[in-house]
Symmetry: C2
Subunit: 205 residues, 2 copies
DNA sequence: AAATTAATTGAATGTTCGTTCAATTTATTT
DNA sequence: AAATAAATTGAACGAACATTCAATTAATTT
């Protein structure tokens, strides 16, 4: 008996507010007090749900990493043709929505913890590997459907993400929208080329 | 008359201590008081030389960015053959010393400010562009010496750095030393391939 | 040695921080 | 309506923070 727990709704609400604040002012300036003020609750309530700021940050990291994986959990998957499906994912990786995930002060701040916190490092590793494995599986599907012939799907998938990560690292500094668009398109073509490097068959534009 | 300024020696000393501390505890936990304690001076002295913590961080960013450019300011340049010189730089980019610059919590924390501070963004842009221009110049030299024929040196240089940045973003999560070494070598080969993509002549291993 | 200027210290400031704890409110069950 | 358990508040804590200011020390010049 007694009151029902509100954890499942309150915790995400707090994490989202914390994230919003961190985006605005930087993770290092995102405090419990400010977060509480943002959603009109008492700071103690945040401690009630997360015990320490450290655990709140930990929850934030998981929140961010979950978003990364969502690229494989969208209507894309419903695409019937394996090669089309693959190219749709590549499209998405170099699209505006995916940009937003990378043009993100908070994500880089979280990433910086990788060097001081083994658990954070492990979390990031799991997600980045998952992304690679998912893409690898799609490449294999396209191979088996006879639509492509990538000799080493694992390495190809790896390289695609290396290009994605390296591309946004540089693109986030580009203020000129037109330059941004052009470069993004160039990097996308480079990523697609990775699927051709070992391919006997070329992908029609 | 009066006492001579010690700025030129004191400022770097303070920046280095601040950097050391930031590496150990994270930039967000690196305070003026702790930095002062580290080199046995009074906290006020740091304010004397930098006025605010913000300016100290700004100096730290410049310190870090200067180190990036040093890859082109080493004995490498003395190499007589343009192609050898180019490959030596590629070697360095995927070497242990360059690793250290990237396996660095502080650099990513600084980078995260890019999204909230236009000046920081501009600073990073200048340095990343400089790196690309330097490499582009070396590719052109090798082209003109008739040793290579890279059709688009600017894009090739860009791609090399995209691969470097993307590679370390993933590699920094790899704890297994053997895996790390293997993957680093693979990425290096991919970078070298970028110089061959448009080349009529292949580079002998 | 007197004057000058920067280096350096030390005490003090007000602010914000994360966290604790007891008290109160609110929802749910018996 | 009584019992229960979680939600929520509000006051309070000490710690650490960046920064200030005046006082002192140390080097350099005339």
């Amino acid at each position: 008996m007694g009151r029902k727990s509100l954890k499942e709704s309150r915790q995400p609400e707090i994490i989202k507010a914390f994230y919003k604040l961190a985006k605005r002012e930087g993770l290092e300036n995102a405090s419990i007090a400010k977060t509480a003020a943002l959603i009109n609750i008492n700071p103690s309530l945040i401690i009630h749900y997360f015990q320490t700021r450290e655990q709140l940050v930990s929850a934030l990291i998981e929140f961010i990493l979950e978003r990364y994986l969502q690229i494989f959990k969208t209507p894309t998957i419903s695409e019937e043709d394996p090669k089309k499906r693959l190219l749709t994912v590549i499209d998405k990786l170099f699209s505006h929505k995916w940009n937003i995930l990378f043009d993100d002060s908070v994500a880089y701040s979280c990433y910086s913890m990788v060097f001081r916190d083994k658990k954070v490092k492990a979390k990031f590793k799991v997600v980045l590997d998952q992304l690679r494995h998912n893409l690898e599986a799609m490449i294999k599907d396209a191979n088996e459907a006879g639509e492509m012939n990538v000799a080493d799907p694992a390495r190809a998938a790896d390289m695609v993400f290396v290009i994605v990560d390296g591309a946004y690292y540089y693109l986030s500094l580009e203020s000129n929208k037109d330059e941004y668009r052009k470069k993004l398109e160039f990097y996308k073509q480079q990523a697609i080329q990775q699927l051709n490097l070992y391919a006997y068959e070329t992908i029609p534009g």
